[in-house]
Symmetry: C2
Subunit: 226 residues, 2 copies
């Protein structure tokens, strides 16, 4: 049903305690999950209260990147290097067992801890371009040039993946042995994200077409999310 | 592009500051978003560190419910009434603008703050049944009876929706006026969750079929998520 677990990372807060057999510390698995995701939920502490805010993410090389408006509270806090925790979760299937107790979901999740830092200097524009390409694949060649004021107004944050763990559930429901011959159905119902036809902006000039690379690569991105 | 905002709730931490025009405090909108979701990300504070863990959710009446193993750290902490924040995010479309700067996503998100409480006593089983029915619709009549030890081992947590806000982005990209005649494409690429064919558990006896209600209602759930 589940997958291998390798050596837990150094920080004890990262050790997966619940259903530890589903824990996964292998960087390759972590990268696969992050590369299939576009949203992460950022937790931080504000005046003693936990807060959680969803935001766009992209894994580039050995960091998780997040970007947003420099004027936002979340991005100010991240640029200041405050402690954060980012969680990502992809749901692959509903898992129906003979008993409600053993119903579950198949999912892939990642949790990352750390103190992020802002990206500044020469490499920022290239990273922003790669970030956008992760969110909307196949569009790199279809933007007007970025303006200096836009690059400045966009806070690009990076978070090391050194303190990261993943948790994966896959496969059949696990029913009690004594329930296996019951007449209730057991199995999984797969879920997938699918891409619809692009819808032109209402102010698009006649004759401007969606880039072919985008049509192909966005569809491919969501087809191979697994 | 966006939607009406009504009166912000009492807690200042709930006031949506960034892109406040996308804030939404109307309970009907909040319920629609929560009812389309099966996963929430729970933030809490542990030894000064923010933590975020994804878990199954269901909105029932005026509360958000979460359930999991009574032995897990997250559920012990929630049963003790610690401060939490739950965020939920559904992505409806990728939003491609003429400039990378104005690219975005259409989404519906909800953030809830509060101190949760465990559900105990007579009503717990009926709530657990409704919770399962939210996660896997159309299956209420297809489980063997819950055992007392199962009901006891499942922690069912409820969180008031009194301190809740929502944020919604919909519609076209918003490009700069001077970019509108450029040859770059602008528009949205809709995303949707779709349901695959149920896969029988490998140990399912011959002749046991997926319940017809489940086939119909799960498909309907994901069709009307919007």
């Amino acid at each position: 049903m589940s997958v291998k677990a390798t050596t837990p990372p150094k920080g004890d807060k990262l050790r997966v305690r619940q259903s530890a057999n589903r824990a996964e510390y292998d960087r390759r698995i972590v990268n696969q999950i992050l590369d299939a995701a576009v949203i992460g939920h950022v937790a931080f502490v504000d005046n003693g209260w936990p807060q959680s805010i969803p935001t766009a993410i992209a894994r580039l090389d050995d960091h998780l990147y997040l970007h947003g408006s420099r004027s936002s509270r979340l991005y100010k806090l991240m640029a200041a290097g405050e402690r954060i925790c980012v969680s990502v979760c992809l749901v692959d299937a509903l898992v129906k067992a003979r008993s409600a107790f053993h119903c579950s979901m198949n999912y892939r999740s990642v949790v990352i801890f750390g103190c992020p830092e802002p990206v500044v200097g020469e490499g920022k524009l290239a990273l922003l371009d790669r970030f956008t390409e992760h969110l909307i694949p196949g569009t790199t060649d279809d933007y007007r040039a970025a303006l200096p004021k836009e690059i400045k107004a966009t806070e690009l944050i990076r978070l090391s993946l050194d303190e990261t763990s993943a948790k994966v559930r896959e496969g059949d429901p696990v029913d009690d042995d004594e329930d296996l011959e019951l007449p209730q159905w057991a199995g999984i119902i797969p879920l997938a994200t699918t891409v619809g036809r692009p819808v032109n902006s209402s102010n698009l000039p006649q004759g401007v077409l969606p880039p072919a690379d985008m049509l192909r690569e966005v569809a491919e991105f969501y087809r191979v999310k697994g």
